[in-house]
Amino acid sequence: MSDRDPGLTGAVRAPLPHDSAEAHVSGGALYADDLAEASDLLHLAFGQSPVAHGTIRAIDLSAVRAAPGVVAVFTAADIPGHNDVSPVAGDDRLFADGEVVCVGQALFVVAATSATAARRAARLATLDIKQRPAFVTIAQAREAGSLIEATQRMARGDADAALERAPHRLTGSLELGGQEHFYLEGQVALATPGEDGQVHILSSTQHPSEVQHLVAEMLEISHADVTVEVRRMGGGFGGKETQPALFAAAAALVAAKTGRPAKIRADRDDDMVMTGKRHDFLISYEVGFDDDGRIEGLRLDLASRCGATTDLSPAINDRAMFHTDNCYWLAAVEIVSHRLKTHTVSNTAFRGFGGPQGMVAIERVIDAVALHLGRDALAVRQVNLYGAGRNVTPYGMTVEDNVAPAIIAELAESGRYAERQVAVAAFNARHRVLKKGLALTPVKFGISFTTTHLNQAGALVHLYTDGSIQLNHGGTEMGQGLHTKVAQIVADVFAVPFDKVRITSTRTDKVPNTSATAASSGADLNGMAAYNAAQTIRERLIAFATRWRQVPEDTVRFAREGVWVGGDLVPFATLCRQAHIGRVSLSSTGYYATPGIEYDRAAHRGRPFYYFAYGAALAEVVIDTLTGEHRVLAVDILHDVGRSLNPAIDLGQIEGGFIQGMGWLTTEEVVYDDAGRLLSHAPSTYKIPTANDRPPRMDVRLWQPGRNVEPTIHRSKAVGEPPFMLAISVLSALTHAVAAARGEAGCPALDAPATPERILAALAR
């Protein structure tokens, strides 16, 4: 069983460094742009729409074609097959055809002898686009009834009646900004033509299979004619789940049309303009509660800017709804979710996938309740937690693994919550300009793709006759340490040292029909698939050894020092070689599909998640009431990763996720102008946290009792996304600091990101 206690070799549960760490630090790790360039390589750049919405009357490309270095220019008319780079709905064009729907939309691609030549030429087109009215904001789209799909409703009980009955009632609203992924490596793809119309694509993608399928259909060739490969990405965070298809398709088209290799490497500004971001939300609520702050009825209205096309917005907004309960029992609740179609770049997956937005909503509701009653916010959180007899989510799933109360209690204790609240109040009494806030918020995050069929994975493991192991699986490495964890799992199966396992690029010709590496599911799915593959070979080896040495099966034992066969120690390599001579296959695929999940989307009912991941964070902040400047001073985190596969990697995910979430809620502001142009299109105007923004004291711990109640790989839990939402503690603490400065009851209307400007605005409201 995969949940037997590993540890024979120390490979699993060991805090091993990332498998590429030495290559990273020495500059030898290869990313898609790092391969030696062929002498006939073409460099590409997109011509982009300057307007948000319009009808294309004419595009004159003569100046582009005549520009120095230009070899070819292609438009929608040159696409042999489908002009489509969308994940689900078929509505993302490779090149605009007839209509443009957002600023930055690709109109054509220039292929030239250098990147500079291509980029300069791309600006030379004469465009005749008849502008049409554009909806840029959520409010504009809502007013016009512009939606990407029907408004969704998830409800339980009679929220209206509960609100009527409740002793207290509050309404409020909150604007929650979007977020740019800012993976350090921008979008990039290199397409190389092969024989007989085939094409190989090196893509920085979380979803090689999707790129493969879209490129094949765009070129009107079979899936089998397209191979997509990715060794590693320089960061993904969801921004390379659907977005790379555009770039890969452009490169593939040029390669197919010219017979030359073609590379597109998006300039940072173009990347920020042309690719989707986290959805921004407008949230409003009406909550009814009792004297202790216990929520009796809740109505939530979530409206999100989906952008110009569908992309993954339905699932993202569903996940927002799924997480509006966070850790709390909502007896009577109605959640309404509007998915607005705007003339801005289509928003997309981003760590948490809508979950963070839903969770911010409920945490704000709780803060509002606490501040209204003048009660401690943690106490209000605790009275609302799921518990016995009140453990069913609004979508009808029973919470069977509720460890939130225990984690919260432990963190409140270890982080000295009560004592520090007193100190904060004393500080605030002493200071006129600076005010502090302290907040403890929990996280419960559902693990699984909510589109059930995506919860499957494959792997391919080869043993060679020298005892070395090559591992391949459908997951992609973007820095999260997935390859390291999966290699640890495989090394453990054979009790060999970690470095015996060679991890190779993810390729669609090795493991086909894969799901995106997303939804935090990478290790759960691929780890188990690789485990199954390795286990198959291990069983063959045991059977062979039994025959070979004529010993009982239970005398064959894999150990660190080698393989014990009936009391004899056989080196692992020897066993491999002998098995090969004995005509035993040393290669196997492995497959895994998550059991027990089902979901009825029409009714918003079912068990969409295999299990939940939990955590809690305690943040202390200080604000300057004259300038709105603020700092996060200290953070304590306790997070549940089940039984960790690799504590070093898990701690890295937790801290990195927290800081990224903190950036989302504080310094990172996505700004569009009225015409739908992105103003924050470069790191000069879009500010992710720097080293000095990391709280001076940060205490991150794994929750020691953690163990997945479900039989996941070695009882671990997914860790990619959940910690992102620990940063909601920062927004909550800022809210309390502003409230302290205002000195009156009630919750300040602090929007996010809580820039200095927004803090001042909240102080003045």
Binding site: A21, P68, G69, G234, E629, A682, P683, A761
Partner: protein, 482 residues
């Protein structure tokens, strides 16, 4: 002679037919195949392209500086030594800086990592601007989106400090020394034009060259001009690189004040400015990241005329004067008079900024300089307020209040100044000045802040100066850790 020569790991690299605005990053990645140096932004903001550049001084000392290769033009490298991440170590034989990053799990996706390694290595050998600085400050120009930085900070603490043995570098650099202006021409296949460039070594030569080519573009640190090329794809026809004009980068500190050559880099100006007033030192700490401060110059910051440049308002408040030179002619004017309108400065063709004089504040002058931005490090000001108020006992004798981000140029708040002069140093006086600011400015709304916010905080900065005088803690940066 028009080849550019530099050292890469102490071996001479010679480049002919140099594109004068070709970047070091592209050279490394696409011609020398040193692919460890990464492009994250091509605009100096992320540090993924960090390399170390060494310059030989008169005393045969090599000064290493971390800089961004993405906005470093090739002629700027002539006569210098270069180290990239590949210079340090390889898997199996890592340098201690690399080893520490592995041991502390300092890389996740690894894309930012080479840049961090170079900044950390620079710190370990005491490269320019790193001594006495916190790790956070040394890394302020390196962005990481994955780790949250904790592991990198831990790695930094574990890296032993050590002198670099520069013997071979000194010898090799000595061999590359030039005594004359280096000039080159480049037949640009893309623009179709012949582009000219010059790299003088003395101010006199610079003056002469600029008189001969009055339309030439001066390039100092290229932290502005670099982006014109990488982002706007501008083609510069004639260029004069002033980064190696030694006597343009001098400074002279006296009892009267500080004279700074226009070519003085931020990194070298930080300490003397900090001695004039600590707020000036703190201001320089927050300009760009170390890589930008290791390249960018005070002269460039003023000459570009930006309304959001950080040093102009501060220096205007302190009463700085600017000296411009054309040929052998010099003229000196109050710094504020240099900024005429947006994009328009008082500089004639053939003229360049030669130096700047900042008078030493007197003991009766109270000073407060504050930069406000969304992020503390490496961000452009939304508003910068710089106040120098001279007191006669408890009465305001004179006041110079200068702001950045409030108008089309760095500008004094004359109404607010008048509200202060002759009044007692009191809350009421500051309140009156704060109110008067509304008559001084009609700021713009842009990505960094709305008009209303800018006006509100500008006024609050005056209130803050008063409160700070009462002993109140006014900045979140002053709080000790909890």
């Amino acid at each position: 002679m028009s080849e550019v020569r530099f050292l890469l790991d102490d071996a001479v690299v010679e480049l002919r037919d140099v594109d004068p605005t070709g970047t070091l990053l592209d050279l490394l990645r696409y011609r020398l195949r040193r692919i460890g140096t990464k492009e994250g932004c091509a605009e100096g903001d992320c540090g993924a392209c960090t390399v170390l550049v060494g310059t030989l001084d008169d005393q045969d000392q090599v000064h290493w500086r971390a800089v961004n290769a993405c906005i470093l033009f090739l002629p700027m490298l002539d006569g210098k030594a270069l180290l990239t991440v590949e210079s340090l170590g390889k898997p199996g034989a890592l340098h201690p800086a690399q080893r520490a990053m592995v041991d502390h799990h300092g890389s996740q996706c690894g894309f930012c990592t080479p840049g961090f390694v170079m900044s950390l290595y620079g710190r370990s050998i005491g490269a320019c601007g790193t001594k006495g600085k916190s790790v956070g400050d040394v890394l302020a120009g390196n962005l990481c989106r994955c780790t949250g930085y904790g592991s990198i900070l831990a790695a930094a603490e574990a890296i032993p400090a050590g002198e670099r043995d520069d013997h071979a570098t000194v010898v090799a650099l000595t061999g590359l020394r030039r005594t004359e202006t280096l000039s080159g021409r480049y037949a640009d296949p893309l623009s179709g034009s012949i582009r000219h460039w010059h790299r003088p070594l003395s101010t006199d030569d610079l003056a002469e060259l600029l008189t001969a080519h009055p339309d030439a573009r001066l390039i100092a640190g290229a932290t502005d001009v670099g982006l014109w090329v990488t982002k706007q794809h501008r083609v510069l026809e004639t260029m004069i690189f002033v980064g190696d004009v030694a006597d343009l980068a001098t400074m002279n500190e006296t009892d009267d004040g500080l004279r700074m050559g226009a070519g003085l880099r931020y990194v070298d100006a930080a300490e003397p400015l900090g001695r004039l007033h600590p707020d000036l030192g703190e201001l320089v700490r927050r300009i760009g990241g170390p890589q930008v401060r290791n390249a960018g110059t005070i002269g460039g910051n003023i000459a570009n005329g930006s309304p959001i440049g950080d040093t102009p308002p501060a220096l205007i408040a302190l009463g700085a004067t600017l000296t411009l030179r054309c040929g052998d002619e010099r003229r000196t004017l109050p710094l504020e008079d240099y900024f005429i309108a947006y994009g328009h400065q008082d500089r004639q063709p053939g003229e360049f900024v030669e130096s700047l004089f900042v008078p030493r504040p007197t003991s009766t002058t109270r000073i407060a300089i504050t930069k406000l931005s969304k992020r503390f490090d490496s961000d452009i000001s939304a508003v910068l307020g710089a106040f120098a108020i001279d007191l006669d006992g408890d009465t305001v004798r004179s006041a110079r209040l200068a702001f950045g981000g409030m108008a089309a140029t760095p500008k004094r708040a004359t109404n607010a100044e008048q509200a202060l002069v002759g009044q007692p140093w009191s809350e009421a006086t500051f309140e009156a000045a704060a109110m008067a600011l509304h008559d001084d400015f009609k700021p713009l709304t842009d990505v960094r802040g709305s008009s209303g916010y800018r006006l509100t905080v500008a006024a609050n900065l005056l209130r803050r100066m008063w409160l700070a005088g009462t002993g109140e803690t006014v900045s979140v940066l002053e709080l000790a850790d909890v």
